[in-house]
Symmetry: C2
Subunit: 345 residues, 2 copies
């Protein structure tokens, strides 16, 4: 009998029958089932309608032997009830209707009660737990304060993070207020997801790699710590993830989390050395899913070898699956991880 | 008497009277003089008309106490004579008219003679050397093969580098042919710039940070080495630069270069430890030029302190100056580097 909870066990560094695997953005555009639903509903409708969010969450669980389901949602969902509505422009990612730039903008952001204003997320989690009980663990998630702040301040996705850093450098108190509000909302939101039944949560600090280590310590780390210190008391594993974090890993670990998520730029062997005693998640380059079978298998075995020194290893891509990915390659990758995966802890 | 050649001296790890400083993209949109010229000429006209390229190159030399001039040009210039014309779409960066995707596309790329097809660059260098003689050293530059290949294959700027990596993983021989051609063209182009009078050159591997160390070694390093091994014989210092390179620095150094360019994510103290005996260039976060004076000065002194352990340190930003930058802040930063800079080597 395969272990249904090998993902949770690996998060805690406990023995497993093989390496568990799930993929960031495993429910998404690369799946025909998903595209069929998206043809009828907007992205936000999918997120805000519990039955639809449940359906999308389950699509990859039905299609593949993934070892965890991750709630279908978007990291920006808390922004609307906080007072910053947004939408997804076709092919261009999120657009915040009124970017947050002034003291008035920051003061006006509300500290929401997620059980009320994001109740649909907790409803979906409740349904999913019943659907998946004893078969597949469910992961909840939220965006981390810097990553959320960058969308709020820039008004969308950015490459230079100019306006975000301008606020950070020129109005540090206001920045602190903004980050404090976001951190408290994220803390409450993840607490609410756990209370609703999420068996693990992942904090996505996707764009944190834009910062120097010194700026991370000054402007971000205390706010991430505010969230992760509190979540450590829940008894649920917390995955702390970012990209471009090669010079931040130790600082992120110090901010908290049970498992550190590693992108593909850091060889897993090096992450093991730098983060002794910490379970790791990662870190196949998502474009490697486009590679021919022999190369994909070599790359997977390289990642598996790299993860062996960690007390636990959850196989994943180093950033979300790209929409151009062939689902057959996803199935092949999962089968390969389970076949070549590592027994023991 | 201030040393006119402190930039060249620092590149070689020789004694200097203070830390030299220049800025990537020091000639550009943030300067009103530049915007005035751009209002009358396209970007490509500025690059391809020696008098205009000379004028733009000299603008920051006249406006600021920079310790080096860098030729005004674009890393994509060699692509047109190679057979891949491009243009700059308003506000969107470069667009390659016919992206390179097939074997035929790669075979068709020409190994150019830069003295002929890019003669305007060498003409501008000749004029600039006469203008700047004994006052300010002149830097030439080129894009590195991976960065050029990514534009060629994607058709423009990318975030995922999906098509580039797809070619790399699925057609390694074709990839090798593409990179081989680009490397040979870049080698010839930098040789020609040096022959025309460039007193230093910088190789921009701006997007190399998209690769894992293992992929860098397999698919890129030999081609960069082809260029840098040859340039080592010219007696001119070569700056080897990339961004997001925290896990690649040693591999880049092994590929070659006199000076390693470090982005702002790697504390310079750490770069000194990892690259013993190598002069370093960097690495202020370019958005820090938007910071209020006390914070900017603190950040500059932190970078200067970090660079002290290197045999030579050239102060620079960790990536190009942003167009929203206030020229007064650039002047302030340069003055601060010279005031707080380090004597000796």
């Amino acid at each position: 009998m395969p272990m249904w909870d090998r993902f949770l066990r690996a998060c805690w560094g406990q023995p497993v029958d093989t390496t568990p695997v799930w993929f960031m953005r495993q429910a998404g555009r690369y799946m025909p089932e998903y595209r069929a639903l998206r043809a009828k509903h907007s992205m936000l409708e999918l997120c805000r309608t519990p039955e639809l969010a449940v359906e999308v969450t389950l699509q990859p669980v039905r299609a593949f032997e993934v070892d965890a389901a991750i709630l279908f949602a978007d990291i920006l969902l808390p922004l609307e009830p906080m007072g910053a509505p947004f939408d997804f422009a076709a092919g261009e990612g999120p657009v915040i209707h009124n970017p947050v730039r002034t003291a008035e903008d920051v003061h006006a952001l509300r500290l929401i009660e997620p059980e009320e204003s994001l109740g649909y997320v907790m409803q979906a989690i409740g349904v999913l737990r019943r659907e998946l009980e004893g078969r597949t663990p469910l992961i909840g998630f939220a965006g981390a304060p810097f990553t959320l702040a960058s969308y709020l301040v820039e008004g969308g996705k950015s490459t230079s993070f100019l306006e975000t850093k301008r606020l950070m450098y020129n109005a540090p108190e206001l920045w602190g207020e903004l980050m404090g509000k976001l951190a408290e909302v994220v803390r409450r939101f993840l607490r609410a997801q756990i209370a609703a039944g999420a068996q693990a949560v992942q904090l996505f600090d996707s764009w944190i790699g834009a910062l120097s280590p010194s700026d991370y310590v000054t402007y971000v780390q205390p706010h991430v710590h505010h969230i992760l210190r509190d979540l450590a008391e829940t008894g649920v594993p917390v995955i702390h993830f970012g990209t471009g974090t090669a010079t931040l890993l130790e600082l992120q670990r110090d901010a908290g989390g049970t498992v550190m998520g590693i992108d593909w730029r850091v060889p897993l062997e090096q992450a093991v050395q730098r983060l002794p005693g910490i379970p790791l998640q990662g870190n196949l380059d998502p474009t490697m899913l486009m590679a021919p079978r022999p190369l994909l298998e070599t790359a997977i075995s390289q990642v598996l070898r790299g993860g062996q020194g960690a007390p636990g290893h959850v196989f994943n891509v180093g950033h979300g699956i790209l929409q151009q990915t062939d689902p057959k390659q996803v199935a092949l990758a999962i089968e390969t991880v389970h076949r070549l995966g590592v027994r023991g802890s």
